[in-house]
């Protein structure tokens, strides 16, 4: 292997963001003419190492060689000059420019006078799409495209660069199965030309079909690099999951008493996703939604909370059919959503803990248009005590709190509306492990106190710890409805909590991959 220069050789790369180690001495070597899969769970460091390769981030330590030549300047320009092209997940498209203008941004086609020739760019863009056998209008504004078309534009932009190293970060999330197949055909052609391809995906079946070798990262460290022939899917999952579930495994799981039916969905569809979802949620129950990005989990949550319109089907709460047209309808019906993007959808960071907590109930706390200070403060203090929010005072800005405590403020804000049904979308994203188990415990406590809870998380170990029942989603549909016990491995001793959780996580991971496979048939 040392005879041919590696297309990319990253050695001992470390990177920290404000004290948090994202990468710790990670090495990655990709050969010319191979498809190299980069795998890892959320927070494993995949995106960080790719952004370093692409010059968006500068490594704290370590060296990068591209085609045997050291890369010393860390800017997107320098990386591109070295022959690296990458698709970002919709991050590198300018919405106000056309598809063709985006594909050739900074590499515009020129006419004889040296001026930009957009018509030539449109022709070239159409050629690339024709080669991939997909249709995207090169003249369309990117702002007007759907997610899949944006993804295709990103891919076209990356491959139009004739790069020596092509990085594809989850290219298939928004693609139809047939489109993925055409992408693979094209990637094999590039491979034959000696292009090195780094392929990131959460879909193990895809990896198994396209990749030659794989590197697996976990918690910012390198776990293994091996040919795919030595990595069957369950081995891959084992390496990805590892033993990082400590801290969660000591959250005690008790069987909650299931009460009346709180929420029932019959054949509910959104405009794009979800499709024909039916589910039942009981009082005292935590229902988990598992699936990959784009599986329709968050869309389902938004439909239930009145943020996205319902296209078909029926929602009933406590046996009565209701119509949810806008968020206030949902709130009035007793549904509260703790949204996915905490910083933008959950809190107003510069405002105080108190003013965030009362945001959803200002009407109730007001008399003659004035907010009753005492009532607001009492409510805030009660929530701070109930949720054990660590803050210097109720007057401190939410931005000064840690991520976990910010999330508690969001949860407190919604509990103030006294909902029966609480939907939590990725409630533990971006918060430390200690606070994660605290949030999970809180979820269990709320259920025990008689609420019905729907929880979305990409961290399977959390779903497994928090939930009584887990729905596996893919492509907007519910594929499986599994009681939590069904995922336990009877062979693992009951007292080995960490190992039990790990085994269950592998089972759930396999269920998710199965759901994806069903959709391909």
């Amino acid at each position: 292997m040392s005879a041919t220069a590696a297309a990319v050789r990253m050695t001992g790369i470390s990177k920290a963001f404000g004290g948090v180690r994202a990468l710790d001495g990670v090495s990655l070597e990709v050969l010319p003419g191979e498809v190299h899969a980069l795998l890892g769970g959320n927070g494993a460091g995949k995106s960080t190492i790719l952004k370093i390769l692409n010059g968006v981030h500068r490594p704290d330590q370590g060296t990068i060689e591209v085609g045997g030549v050291p890369l010393t300047t860390h800017t997107p320009e320098a990386s591109r000059a070295a022959g690296i092209a990458m698709n970002y997940q919709e991050m590198s498209l300018v919405p106000t420019l056309t598809v063709a203008q985006n594909i050739f941004l900074t590499r515009e086609w020129r006419d004889g006078a040296g001026l930009i020739d957009d018509e030539e760019a449109e022709r070239r863009a159409a050629e690339i799409f024709a080669m991939l056998e997909v249709f995207v209008d090169p003249k369309a504004l990117v702002a007007d495209l759907g997610a899949g078309q944006k993804q295709l534009t990103e891919i076209a932009k990356a491959i139009s660069q004739d790069a020596k190293v092509l990085v594809l970060d989850e290219p298939s999330t928004a693609l139809a199965v047939s489109d993925v197949e055409r992408l693979f055909v094209f990637l094999r052609k590039l491979k034959a030309k000696g292009v090195a391809i780094i392929y990131v995906s959460h879909r193990m079946d895809e990896i198994a079909r396209i990749a030659d070798r794989a590197t697996i990262l976990r918690d910012g460290r390198h776990v293994i690099t091996a040919p795919l022939s030595e990595l069957p899917i369950d081995t891959m999952i084992e390496h990805i999951v590892g033993r990082r579930s400590k801290g969660l495994s000591d959250v005690e799981r008790t069987q909650a008493a299931k009460g009346e039916v709180l929420l029932q969905l019959k054949d509910v569809s959104g405009v794009h996703k979800p499709e024909h979802v039916s589910l039942t949620l009981h009082r005292g129950e935590v229902l988990g939604l598992a699936g990959l990005l784009g599986s329709g989990r968050s869309s389902l949550a938004r439909v239930m909370a009145g943020i996205e319109p319902i296209a078909a089907g029926e929602i009933s709460i406590k046996g009565r059919s209701i119509v949810i047209r806008k968020p206030s309808d949902a709130i009035a019906a007793g549904v509260a959503l703790v949204p996915e993007a905490r910083a933008t959808q959950g809190i107003i960071p510069a405002h105080s803990v108190a003013s965030n907590m009362i945001l959803a109930v200002i009407g109730r706390l007001s008399k003659a248009g004035f907010v009753e200070t005492k009532a607001a403060n009492d409510l805030t203090d009660a929530q701070i005590a109930r949720l054990k929010v660590k803050t210097a005072s109720r007057e401190h800005a939410v931005a000064t709190l840690s991520g976990g405590n910010q999330q508690k403020v969001v949860i407190g804000k919604w509990l103030a509306t006294d909902p029966d049904i609480l939907i939590l979308d990725e409630p533990t994203a971006g918060i430390d492990i200690g606070s994660k188990s605290e949030i999970i415990r809180l979820v269990r406590d709320l259920a025990a106190a008689g609420k019905g809870i729907i929880m979305i998380s990409s961290e399977l170990s959390e779903l497994l710890t928090a939930c009584d029942r887990i729905l596996v989603m893919a492509d907007g549909r519910v594929h499986q409805d599994l009681p939590r016990e069904a995922l336990d491995d009877p062979d693992v001793p009951v007292d080995d909590q960490a190992h039990r959780l790990q085994a269950a996580e592998q089972r759930l991971q396999i269920e998710i991959q199965k759901a994806l496979a069903v959709q391909e048939i």
Binding site: R80, T96, L105, L115, I116
Partner: protein, 311 residues
């Protein structure tokens, strides 16, 4: 072609509006001399400075920034040009005017891109500073310009029947249009304003782009000041006062987005002409100044509201 033009009528409202207003004024104000060639050329003469600044403002807005200091910088440049001509002649005057724009623009750009102060605040503060400096160095007095050659080239002259000011507007407009539409720089400006993160990930130095558009804007403001000075044969700190609002209105009327990413130089020029046209028509109608202000505000709101894309 024609059907596509009207299908996108909201985008093209400025052109439709311009023609409609022109026809209305032509019909109702014909007896007051509206269609008199001299009156029409006067509209151009009064609009040229706004148009010159608005061409540059199109770049600033397209990059997602704003420049509120253009009116005051134009005023400052009338003073520096007039004083420099008095000392060293017209050539030195032109250098002094451009140097004024360059210095202010680099300072604006530096504060905005390196210190990180939003351009709204940088240029708001600069508006006061430029006006103060102009008042201070001129002791608030008008500075006469006694160079016929300068006055001819910068504002006062005619080539045959065509005012030099019209030539300035057309030439700078053509350059601005081609640069924004057809050069790498223009494309980078639009990308920076349309999606800064995406532009940066695509390898565009967005800070450098923002710096450059602010420099261009101040230089255009200084040039507009030079045109004011030439036309009125003097430098006065009041010249250009309040122009920033007409300049921004012209660009937005023309279809440039205040949020960045979308801009058209031709639309901007028509927007500037439309503002001039409205001013002229309202004066000919015999409206009082107070009524003119109200009518002008109403027409601008109507035009911008019609141009907004409905969700």
């Amino acid at each position: 072609m024609a059907s596509a033009f009207f299908a996108n009528w909201r985008q093209n409202i400025i052109y439709i509006g311009f023609v409609v207003i022109f026809i209305v004024f032509a019909a109702t104000l014909a007896d007051k001399g509206f269609l008199n060639p001299n009156n029409l050329l006067n509209i151009v003469r009064q609009t040229a400075m706004i148009a010159v600044m608005a061409i540059a403002m199109t770049f600033v807005l397209s990059a997602g920034e704003i420049d509120l200091s253009v009116g005051a910088v134009a005023g400052l440049s009338t003073v520096t040009v007039a004083m420099a001509i008095a000392v060293g002649g017209p050539f030195v005057g032109v250098i002094a005017g451009l140097a004024t724009g360059l210095a202010v623009g680099m300072f604006n750009g530096w504060l905005t891109t390196r210190i990180g102060i939003p351009s709204f605040l940088t240029t708001l503060a600069m508006m006061g500073i430029a006006k103060g400096v102009a008042m201070w160095i001129s002791a608030t007095a008008a500075v006469p310009i006694l160079s016929p050659g300068y006055s001819w080239l910068f504002g006062g002259g005619n080539v045959g029947p065509v005012p030099v000011l019209l030539l300035w507007m057309v030439i700078l407009g053509a350059i601005g249009h081609i640069v924004l539409r057809r050069t790498g720089f223009g494309r980078r400006v639009l990308a920076t304003g349309g999606g800064e993160t995406a532009a940066r990930y695509s390898g565009i130095d967005t800070k450098a782009i923002k710096f450059k558009v602010l420099v261009i804007s101040s230089c255009a403001a200084a040039l507009a000041g030079m045109l004011y000075a030439g036309r009125l044969q003097s430098g006065r700190f009041q010249l250009g006062e309040g122009d920033e609002l007409s300049v921004i209105a012209a660009a937005v009327l023309g279809g440039t987005s205040l949020f960045g990413g979308r801009g058209t130089v031709i639309g901007t020029i028509v927007g500037a002409l439309m503002i001039g046209l409205i001013n002229n028509g309202l004066i000919l109608m015999g409206l009082e100044f107070s009524q003119q202000l109200i009518a002008r505000g109403g027409i601008i709101i109507l035009a911008v509201a019609l141009s907004q894309k409905r969700a």
